[in-house]
């Protein structure tokens, strides 16, 4: 539910969610043309999570992410041109083409290198939180990770450290398999293979604050993250949020199986015949359409405004694609730079 936020905040959050959607669609198109190097993971279906959390953060907070980081980077305010150029391996990218899609990085936004290793980022996030606490800064560290990370030992060690020392961390576990039946074990590549049913139980028995949040509801994510941040700043330690989203039907093999998002679907409600197999996605599981419908219902935006915003965002992404394509690859000598600080 949106009303916790002002109209401007809501529209800005919607704009960012659309920006992420159009960015990811552009990545998928570019990958079909071999412009994306290495395997990549899109954030389609999870936009409300990154944007909701990021909306409550301060510039001094740290943000950490994983292989699925494009959305987090943009939600934090990264420049789509440089973000896309990085994914294309170009010299103008955030990391000069050295890191690529799995390793989103925008140090000027307190967004250090994302880890492509499942759960590898969790211990690091406890470290930035420890430094913030040690330095008595009024800030928190937020770490995004998939449900799969809960299968790795590193996650448990990190949760324990954060709980033990009441570190200012917000653990955001993005469970993008909400549709998978919740039963112990025996799931699939994109769903947790866990002996427990509720992921939050793990953090709860460690004494952490926990919450299960609907990832279709940007307002709910926003509220949960705001509360978690306030608790952390008050010295009450870490929070573990499980944000549940539905797997985008194209999530495993990123092809546009649901087509390029037609924002008019917000109000016309027709599922294009060719995508009828994915009707649920159009009717209720797409967080971008969900928030657009909410804005309409609450009278915060009119159809024409939504279309205008979409046109602006689309134009920005088209320009990012152009920028990335026109950017040069780094010269080969760059391969040997920045191994050491001095």
């Amino acid at each position: 539910m949106l009303p916790v936020m002002s109209r401007d905040q809501c529209l800005e959050a919607f704009r960012k969610m659309l920006l992420i959607r159009r960015f990811e669609e552009a990545c998928i198109d570019a990958a079909a043309k071999q412009q994306v190097h290495g395997h990549y993971h899109v954030y389609i279906g999870q936009e409300a999570t990154g944007v909701g959390v990021m909306s409550v953060l301060d510039k001094g907070d740290f943000v950490h992410s994983t292989h699925r980081n494009h959305g987090h980077l943009l939600a934090r305010g990264a420049d789509p041109d440089r973000a896309l150029a990085e994914i294309f391996g170009r010299a103008t990218g955030y990391s000069g083409g050295k890191a690529g899609t799995l390793h989103g990085c925008a140090p000027d936004l307190n967004f250090p290198l994302s880890s492509g290793i499942v759960a590898g980022i969790l211990p690091i996030s406890t470290g930035t939180a420890y430094a913030l606490k040690y330095r008595k800064l009024p800030n928190v560290s937020v770490v995004f990770f998939g449900d799969g990370a809960m299968e790795e030992g590193a996650a448990y060690e990190a949760l324990n450290l954060a709980a033990l020392w009441k570190l200012p961390v917000i653990f955001v576990c993005e469970n993008n398999t909400a549709e998978v039946e919740r039963k112990p074990g025996g799931a699939q590549y994109h769903a947790p293979n866990m002996s427990i049913v509720e992921l939050t139980d793990i953090a709860r028995i460690m004494g952490m604050n926990t919450g299960i949040v609907d990832g279709l509801d940007m307002g709910a994510v926003w509220t949960a993250a705001r509360d978690a941040r306030e608790r952390a700043i008050r010295g009450e330690g870490a929070t573990f949020l499980e944000v549940r989203t539905h797997t985008w039907p194209g999530g495993q093999y990123p092809t546009l199986v649901t087509g390029r998002t037609d924002i008019r679907h917000t109000w016309n409600g027709e599922v294009p015949a060719e995508f009828s197999k994915h009707e649920k996605w159009f009717r209720r599981n797409d967080p971008v359409l969900s928030i657009a419908r909410e804005l309409l219902t609450l009278g915060m935006a009119k159809q024409a405004e939504i279309e205008k915003l979409d046109a602006e965002v689309t134009r920005a992404i088209n320009e990012a694609v152009k920028f990335a394509n026109e950017s040069p690859f780094p010269p080969v000598e760059e391969a040997l730079t920045h191994v050491w600080p001095h």
């Binding site: 391996g89 050295k98 390793h103 790795e152 293979n193």
Partner: protein
């Protein structure tokens, strides 16, 4: 029919081990190839469905589990996936498995095979391109095999299984579709290198994907009148110094291609033979082609600049002539 595609031959080799003994099991979910190759791997996984433990993303846990299963009578083949993920299981692979036989005074055997698709796989970037083999060579008690040819993968796997040693099979992400041409050489016993192309002018040593590059380089060199002898190391631990020395005794020249970083690498280990056993055999300095000591960059031109390409091997060999 003998398989000439490396990937098909390795799937067959694993299947043969499993058919021969029902205590051979597969642990891990990652398989033996990438998504593109799942069609070749699927029949194996279908045939042995009940003997495959599809694991959570828990490399440390399931590699340790394999060590235990090996102690208790199974022969686990553990598919770790990308070579870099071996680091998640490092404590079990380097600090548990290799020590147990020795520390039990030869009483507790750990017959297990860890397999991973290592190497520079093209745009894997730094966290998905590890070549853990040189670091693994520091684990005394761990055998390391690195087959590169379709005709060799079966014999090497079988020998490793019979050796009952904890073994790391360092596989390469780019080997799957490599085709072996010509008459295969007879596989020597485990621990011996193979001369895959006899020659008299220069010795070129490689293993895994670098061996493929060495063979291609030798073909180019032949067109330019240089007769290269190509040696496939096959096993990195133990490393066969004798075969290399014999060859260099003939040629006096040595090029080594190795995707590892230069320091403490497979190539440096091969070169070190000539400060001891092979002292005096060289007419020219050893040419080592490694990946420069930088984390692997994503951007294709940077990555391509750093790998031991065929043209670099050719140039290094030519530089030794005359």
């Amino acid at each position: 029919m003998t398989e000439t595609m490396f990937g098909k031959a390795k799937v067959k080799a694993v299947g043969d081990l499993m058919r021969a003994d029902e205590n051979v099991v597969i642990i891990g979910g990652a398989g033996f190839g990438g998504l593109l190759h799942s069609k070749y791997v699927k029949p194996l996984f279908d045939e042995f469905d009940s003997r495959i433990l599809r694991t959570p993303i828990a490399e440390l846990g399931f590699c340790g589990m394999a060590v235990g299963a090996a102690i208790a009578g199974l022969y686990p083949i553990v598919t770790i996936g990308t070579g870099s993920f071996a680091f998640e299981a490092w404590p079990q692979i380097v600090n548990e498995a290799p020590n147990i036989f020795y520390m039990s005074d030869g009483k507790v055997k750990v017959p297990v095979m860890f397999q991973a698709l290592g190497g520079i796989r093209i745009s894997g970037a730094a966290q998905h391109s590890a070549r853990p083999q040189a670091m693994l060579m520091q684990a005394a008690g761990l055998q390391i095999i690195a087959p590169s040819r379709a005709s060799d993968v079966g014999p090497l796997l079988k020998a490793a299984r019979e050796s009952e040693r904890p073994t790391f099979w360092i596989d390469h992400a780019l080997l799957f579709e490599e085709q072996e041409t010509g008459t295969p050489v007879k596989p020597p016993p485990l621990g011996k290198a193979a001369i895959v192309r006899p020659g008299k002018d220069v010795t070129i040593v490689g293993y895994s994907i670098d061996l493929i590059r060495c063979v291609k380089a030798a073909v180019e060199l032949a067109q330019q009148g240089i007769d290269a002898e190509v040696i496939d190391l096959r096993t990195l631990s133990p490393l066969d110094a004798d075969t290399i020395c014999e060859s260099v005794g003939k040629t006096g020249r040595l090029v080594v291609a190795d995707e590892c970083y230069p320091a403490a690498s497979v190539a440096s280990e091969v070169a070190s033979i000539f400060t001891g056993k092979g002292f005096g055999l060289l007419k020219k300095p050893v040419q080592r082609l490694n990946f420069a000591a930088v984390p692997v960059p994503l951007s294709p031109p940077l990555e391509m600049h750093l790998i031991p390409r065929v043209d670099k091997i050719v140039a290094a060999a030519k530089g030794l002539m005359g």
